[in-house]
Symmetry: C2
Subunit: 344 residues, 2 copies
Amino acid sequence: MSIRDLARHLDISIGTVSRALNGKSDVNPETRERVLVAAKKLGYVPNQSGRSLRQGTTNTIGFMIESTIESADSGGNFFMPVFEGVQSVFRRHHLDLVALLCGTDEDPATYLNRVVGRRFVDGLIISATTRNDPRISFLLERKIPFVALGRSATRGSYPWIDLDFEGVAATAVARLVHFGHRRIAIGVPASDINLGYVFQDGYKRALKMSGIHFDPELVLRAHSNEEGGYQVASGMLAQKQMPTAVILVNENMAIGLYRRFYEAGIHPGRDVAVVGFRESTQSRFLSPTLTCFRISLRDLGIKLAEALLSTMPAFMSNYPQGRIELVWPMELVPGESDRLWRGT
Amino acid sequence: MSIRDLARHLDISIGTVSRALNGKSDVNPETRERVLVAAKKLGYVPNQSGRSLRQGTTNTIGFMIESTIESADSGGNFFMPVFEGVQSVFRRHHLDLVALLCGTDEDPATYLNRVVGRRFVDGLIISATTRNDPRISFLLERKIPFVALGRSATRGSYPWIDLDFEGVAATAVARLVHFGHRRIAIGVPASDINLGYVFQDGYKRALKMSGIHFDPELVLRAHSNEEGGYQVASGMLAQKQMPTAVILVNENMAIGLYRRFYEAGIHPGRDVAVVGFRESTQSRFLSPTLTCFRISLRDLGIKLAEALLSTMPAFMSNYPQGRIELVWPMELVPGESDRLWRGT
DNA sequence: TATGAAATCGTAAACGTTTACGGAGTCCAA
DNA sequence: TTGGACTCCGTAAACGTTTACGATTTCATA
């Protein structure tokens, strides 16, 4: 069922059929109608390879997510709503979104090279950017439209949207200090993901603002999952003077952290204050409920999509131009995990 | 940087270049070497649209996952490891895997129709199959290679791999009965997903085996997330005679269920027995740890990939033929959530 | 009626591959 | 010297689209 079959069936030329289907102006409204109903009746769908080859564009956007060991068990629930948002924008422009999974046994940069080289996608959204992310320089030099979810320390100008981890650290520290805490630990990712650095910097700055000396012992590196949280709690318990509060950068860590404290007879929200990261159904139903930060992942996805489209020649005209370096604000959602504190 | 440029640069014909790159036999080993090094040096990557158009095959497999409201916050951590497994097999065959996200505002069947019609993928893995899944009959009639993760009640023969929810129900019921329980509730998905039916059937059968009368009141429908778990617990608490045990079909429900019971002063693992579904880092670090079922998602992914390849003409020869209707066994992992039971 | 513009459509080239086919060598045996 | 077998390579068609261009028709106007 190619366009040729359709044309034969209607006894008109394939050029006219193509123009009719693509909404070109120089075609009789009446024949256009005939073409459209015939296409629907015969179930004609244009072959994407053919049109891609001709137009040099695939109408497909790739969202690259890495299923690293660390995030394998936790990344999904974050990305799904983001996809939703991205897709809601793309649909209006007849763009398809595919998620590109880079396995753990392949280097993200070479994977990207293959995908881009094949002309598989017209644009990319990359996520989980590392401190110096080779993908960014690669995409810049190849002039592939992209937007990064998470900035990086890479030189050069490129569009990125990043969560305000510095703000998270500042808000959390200020709140905990206000509750009387002085010894505040943080759990940061063990990987090279850039958010860890941003978060840690924000933490230090916030401590300085409160006149608290920075103690490197309070920075606990761990994987961003339940087991990592368990280790963070263990690290806190092992210190001669246990921190009275902790800020986590991932909500899954909270579960393991709770667990470890329970085992030690310590009750989060009563004996130790916990601030988690992202508000979710999970954080709302934990016991104690987690004080954390709210973010509309769907809106984030929408913004990502718009940012990308504003850099793509075919869609630029519909979107405002200019640098895109956006720090996404988050709102603190009070929970029980840091409220029941009664002082040392 | 097309194959034509490469040929010009080497001063040989494009046909020879193509044959050299594709490992055809009728090419001088020496010139092949020249082609390969030049291709690498110039960074040539074949245009996928061109080859797809010519060969009628895209070398791409789609894994369709629906980001329904229900699973939006929980589906990810399940699929990531599965992707890993699938991809490990595909890589050997130079197949690319993309995740196809069907948004909540689009009908899965029409989405599938578009993707398939465009000749975007050579094969498909579909998941979250419903009771009567229109995608299955669609793919069957269009003769698109596919494998379903989760069987369906649809007539016709097609390859599927399904988790052994009947076995889960049987094992859990038998165990709980052995611990002295007679009034065992279950939490099943509120959606039309087929696993809910399978699970429920297994539950009924297991009750009959133990000589326990089936009470429809004990079947509690809810979303497969934390909030759903909360509602299941509420449902149990509301009954004149509260069930002494509950089996959940999703581990995220456990968190909300725990929450609700805590609020009522009831301790899971002491006052009520809970059996969850899938073993994960989460289930291991909950308090109490969840008695649940272990499954290697990576192996599941590998099996899915092999099943699909065995139905695709280009790869059939490498894989055993025959019907693929596989019930994937799961092993019970004892936790604390159903062990501390001391009887009524 | 002649003319030109507008509307509508057909023709053919082009996108980047792969591959069937045939041609040009080379080598060896008859 | 001829013929055949073999190796290697070039030629050109084909995949399904889109689109620039020109051809034809219609229609109003001079």
